[in-house]
Symmetry: C2
Subunit: 351 residues, 2 copies
DNA sequence: GGGATTAGTGTAACCGGTTACATTAAAGCA
DNA sequence: TGCTTTAATGTAACCGGTTACACTAATCCC
């Protein structure tokens, strides 16, 4: 294998500065007094030799990695950019590094999780990338973990950060019913076992109940929170014998793009023939034609909050066990509202 | 500090299995024969004790981290999602981890680079996050580095991956001149020292030259490749005494969003009054109103190519020193073209 | 002035793995 | 049968830091 050019170690520095390695270490870490004179000598030698402390060795000795891990299943959708950005901001503020692993127990369960107590000080886990067994295992080791977009199994005391899904969805669906008179509303599920999808569906059902509209299982499709799958699922729906519909809740904004396309191909107009609404308020949602009515989720803030929580955990500060960030519905034209939003996306009608 | 619950080590496993640590290590790494019987015993003990090899210790002993680093200055724009996604795909395919650091020598130069030979096996560096001195330093240690969206200083033999900026820009500007009769074209620069910006400006100048249009320095603005800065810069331009203009090359797509907004506020129509063109073909560009004419840069592929190159370097395979990925102009409506693109963004008129 | 404290330093064990080298027993071969 | 090869294993040094403990000399305090 690659033989690294033998690098200069703390012992080299010690020898050249005519002191012990302990003294050099103390100088570097400033955790014990070192005389002025010796300090200067060490400083000079370090420069001369271009010495860089060996991160890995230090990690082994101190059992602290100054790194946090993030597990996500992939980065294929726009959703992850603001999430990552929020996490990254807090991580670098704390002078930590971020180790990113794409891992999903459903597809990688034969492979051990590449992130854990042995290479990070704490872990952020998105959605259902880890299963309960893995979480239990980490919990048993008292390893700091914060869950993102999923709640923790109650017997594990793992803090989590997610967004308010149910009430916002209920409000959005109610809006379709009350304001726009829609009654046959398609619901597109996300990936199964995705909690967001579950709660959004509850909100959808609640809204129907509230207005006395019976739930119809053949209005439930699977959009997978992704434009391509949503397009395909909706095409299949249109092709087969299906009940009439006058609105679609696409589950998330990315799926709405696929639905827009399928509707266009079918010659159906949005919002005249069909109201379309999404969830997330992704960066491009206000640019769609028509602009997409959706629920604004503070994804960047989800990331930063989760990361902040993780540092609280790592530093053993008291923490908030569960954080449910508020969402708000954003009315644009795709539901049938006629608001003109000048200068989108800078201004939105929010309520 | 946090005292980790003492974890089970290879010596514990060895003791319980009544073998030496070497044998356990061999069994784990499958790099020397171990008898069937002993193998089973070790396997069982590992399960019983829930033993997990200590990544850091292994890294120290083998001097291989199975991790690659990525240095970017931030993740604030949409540009990074496809880049990261491309990198990530190749990294996880190679069963490596990805360590992400946001670092910029201009703002962090007092702080040492958190990524290097001591915690990664190779490094991807975006644009001008690292300065020449830092690159030289890494080069001297023969540390594998691949540059993204910048060329390497010639005396350092560092491979790089970037996109074809100049010819595409020249073609795009020529299109504005020849097809749409534009002659007073604003050019928005990106961040100074950004190579992409430099080459795009060269392409812009070449196109002017080619058509005998004199270069006007007061048509050069600074958009910073970002919507907010571009909006502000363009507002300032409009507010002061300025030469007439009939087109804008915004430097990149994100900046185009800010320009769109400022134009709308000024009551100028796109493309009737002003042609607007960008660069990148970001995910939302085809959704803008009007859809943005731009240059398609294979950003995902830039990421995957750079990562693949880095692995070639790490594994000491022969490599391509410089990779210039092709770009193509994408005509939509913002320049004045009248193509109807059915089902944007799935189909584009590309040429 | 004598005991207690503190500044400044060194020695060596330790973190948890890998691996060069040595050793023994079994298998292969003439 | 005797010699060489190979399978299987153990011992201990090593990777490059940190830090507990020991020690000396100087300073403080009553």
């Amino acid at each position: 294998m690659t033989r690294k050019s033998s690098s200069v170690t703390i012992r080299d520095v010690a020898r050249h500065a005519a002191v012990s390695v302990a003294t050099v270490s103390r100088f570097i870490n400033r955790n014990a007094p070192v005389s002025q004179e010796v300090a200067e000598r060490i400083q000079q030698v370090m420069l001369d030799l271009n010495y860089k402390p060996h991160t890995t060795a230090r990690q082994l000795a101190t059992r602290r990695t100054l790194t946090v891990g993030l597990v996500i299943h992939n980065m294929h959708t726009d959703f992850f950019a603001p999430l990552l950005s929020g996490i990254e901001a807090v991580v670098s503020e704390n002078q930590y590094n971020l180790l990113v692993a794409t891992y999903d127990y459903k597809t990688h369960h034969h492979r051990p999780l590449p992130i854990g107590p042995h290479n990070t000080d704490g872990l952020l886990s998105y959605s259902d990338c880890l299963n309960e067994e893995q979480l239990t295992d980490l919990g048993r080791q008292k390893f700091p973990v914060v869950l993102i977009h999923r709640t923790a199994p109650p017997h594990l005391r793992i803090p989590f950060v997610t967004v308010e899904n149910k009430a916002a969805t209920r409000k959005l669906i109610s809006h379709l019913i009350q304001v726009h008179g829609r009654r046959s509303i398609i619901f597109m599920r996300g990936p199964s076992e995705q909690e967001d999808s579950y709660w959004r569906e509850q909100g959808y059902r609640d809204a129907l109940d509230e207005h006395g509209i019976p739930f119809q299982s053949d209005l439930i499709l699977c959009g997978e929170f992704n434009r391509t799958a949503a397009y395909a699922a909706f095409k299949r729906f249109l092709a087969r014998k299906h009940p009439p519909f006058d609105a679609i809740f696409t589950g998330d904004d990315d799926a709405a793009i696929g639905v827009f396309k399928a509707l266009k191909e079918a010659g159906l107009r949005v919002p005249e023939d069909v109201s379309v609404v999404g969830f997330d308020d992704a960066r491009l949602s206000s640019f769609l034609n028509p602009p997409l009515t959706t629920v604004r989720a503070p994804t960047h803030q989800v990331g930063s909050t989760a990361a902040a929580l993780l540092f609280d955990l790592i530093q053993e500060r008291p923490i908030e066990a569960c954080t449910l960030l508020p969402t708000e519905i954003v009315l644009r034209r795709s539901c049938g509202c006629a608001y003109e939003n000048p200068g989108e996306p800078f201004y939105d009608v929010v309520r």
